[in-house]
Symmetry: C2
């Protein structure tokens, strides 16, 4: 395996969004209770009620979703937690999911929210952005295009990621204002009269200054929850060159109207994630669980149309 | 595999520290450039210059270190980044390292600095603290005793970890004041006249309130860098029932004198990590690299004696 030298950066994601006229990211968060029973039953019959069995069901589930979505949705965002939950076998399923999504032409954002002091951050950057050298051989550790990053530790914990983005044409998304109900406990507290998320947003803008792509957005993006529309607006004004990864649409409660402020006049500048809303659409729809991928596609179409009624991506 | 119901919590770590009269944690951070050449050469000859080859060298390195340390050092702290850097094969080596350290009677703290919104935090809690159910079978995903947690997302991202600690007798260490040079960029900023790390410390104390062990310390601990001795002192006064995981000794520059304030009158209340200082002691010592484990033990003895000149653990 050799590391890819193909330029990807944020431009590749934006290009895919513009081509598909769809700023949606499908979050691949395969909690076991979201996976159709028939997939689990088949996998457990073959591999036993083991982590391996569960991981095989996850991979099958994901491949079905990717096959149903790849021509209309530009990107997937696997949530690392749900793969780690299945141990080594789960990580194998994660690796193969990323590989499969890339083979299908999708942009892969690993949602790992990694962050550490400099030396360890270099390890994470190697894992997901730059690869490692085994002897004289360059190896790709995980085939992903972008990683989410937690910057509670400050600049020296972020710099290794930024350097890897530059050298290996990858992107990161730094947690600025997260979509969850408690995000304000720390992120909304005022520092010199301004909330912590603005301070983090400002640092995020600084880290990304050297890495602008051809659409005017940096390879250092920000995670900004759709559940906080006012904050999206403020952050967009503060950070005109920062691409936003926007969770919170659908199952978490945000609507298309909540996130329009993230987008520029060309309908670009953001990617909206829905996880459970898409991958477990079969439950909400009440269709036969064997049609889970069809239901995911129907929800992805509905979501695309819902968003692009307000935002025209071009 | 079934989940362990043995009570571990923070008491098990404290018991091991008291028994060995040594509050040291050996950080297993196997960056490839810290691994002796002969181990890499052997592994690459057998498995090729691949991620598998590199991961085999890591596992061999770690087993040698554990064999040399387990009778004098109570705990190991593998840094997840360096295993993730080697892809699926690295995660296998991580799993086997944790298993081997536990077999040798060591307390295993996975340094993953995980954190996410509630549903995803539950995935991480399953991975490292509670295990998962595959069908009707309880499975252990990674055999660890404790996990480091990043709480930038607030309470709903931490609660799943706390609940798993309670139910499965595990511990977490929440990042409060980290040891790196840039930690102050966010953590030292003032919120209502108090630095962010104090706010985080206070939340950490709240999260741990239900989980006190028999030594008076909670299963929800805090990461507090030895490189910031004044902050250790303040946090210890604020948080008399919070156990501190203390990185920064050795290679990062802190001395034994810097961390005495973390400990109570019985010499308990903290565990001091050294990673490169111990595992790459052979480089600093300049001995034959084949004696890397011997050098690690000599440094661990020196470190123990250096710290316990000031703190008597009993």
């Amino acid at each position: 395996m050799t590391t890819s030298k193909t330029p990807v950066s944020i431009d590749l994601l934006i290009k895919k969004i513009a081509e598909k006229r769809n700023p949606t990211v499908a979050g691949l968060d395969p909690a076991l209770d979201l996976i159709p029973e028939f997939l689990k039953k088949n996998a457990y019959e073959k591999h036993g009620e083991t982590l391996r069995g569960a991981a095989k069901a996850v991979l099958k589930f994901n491949k079905g979703l990717i096959d149903a979505l790849y021509d209309i949705v530009p990107a997937v965002k696997p949530q690392s937690a749900f793969y780690e939950a299945l141990g080594v076998e789960g990580i194998k399923a994660l690796h193969r999911t990323c590989e499969y999504a890339k083979k299908r032409g999708m942009y892969v954002i690993l949602d790992g929210k990694r962050g550490d002091i400099g030396t360890s951050a270099s390890g994470y950057a190697a894992a997901y952005l730059s690869g490692v050298k085994a002897g004289e051989t360059e190896c790709v550790s995980f085939p992903v295009d972008a990683l989410t990053v937690n910057a509670y530790l400050g600049s020296d914990g972020v710099t290794p990621f930024v350097e890897a983005c530059e050298k290996h044409h990858k992107s990161i998304f730094v947690l600025v204002k997260t979509s969850n109900p408690s995000s304000g406990e720390l992120q909304d507290r005022l520092v010199d009269g301004r909330p912590v998320y603005e301070l983090m947003g400002e640092m995020c803008g600084e880290w990304g200054k050297k890495l602008f792509g051809k659409y005017g957005y940096s390879a250092v993006g920000a995670v900004v929850g759709a559940t906080y529309p006012e904050q999206i607006k403020t952050l967009r004004e503060m950070l005109p060159n920062t691409f936003f990864l926007i969770p919170g649409y659908g199952a978490q409660g945000a609507s298309a109207a909540d996130l329009t402020a993230a987008f520029d006049k060309n309908g670009l500048g953001g990617a909206v994630n829905s996880s459970r809303g898409i991958i477990a659409a079969y439950k909400k729809e009440g269709c036969d669980e064997r049609d889970y991928a069809g239901a995911a596609r129907r929800e992805a179409v509905r979501m695309r149309d819902d968003i692009t009624r307000r935002i025209i991506c071009r």
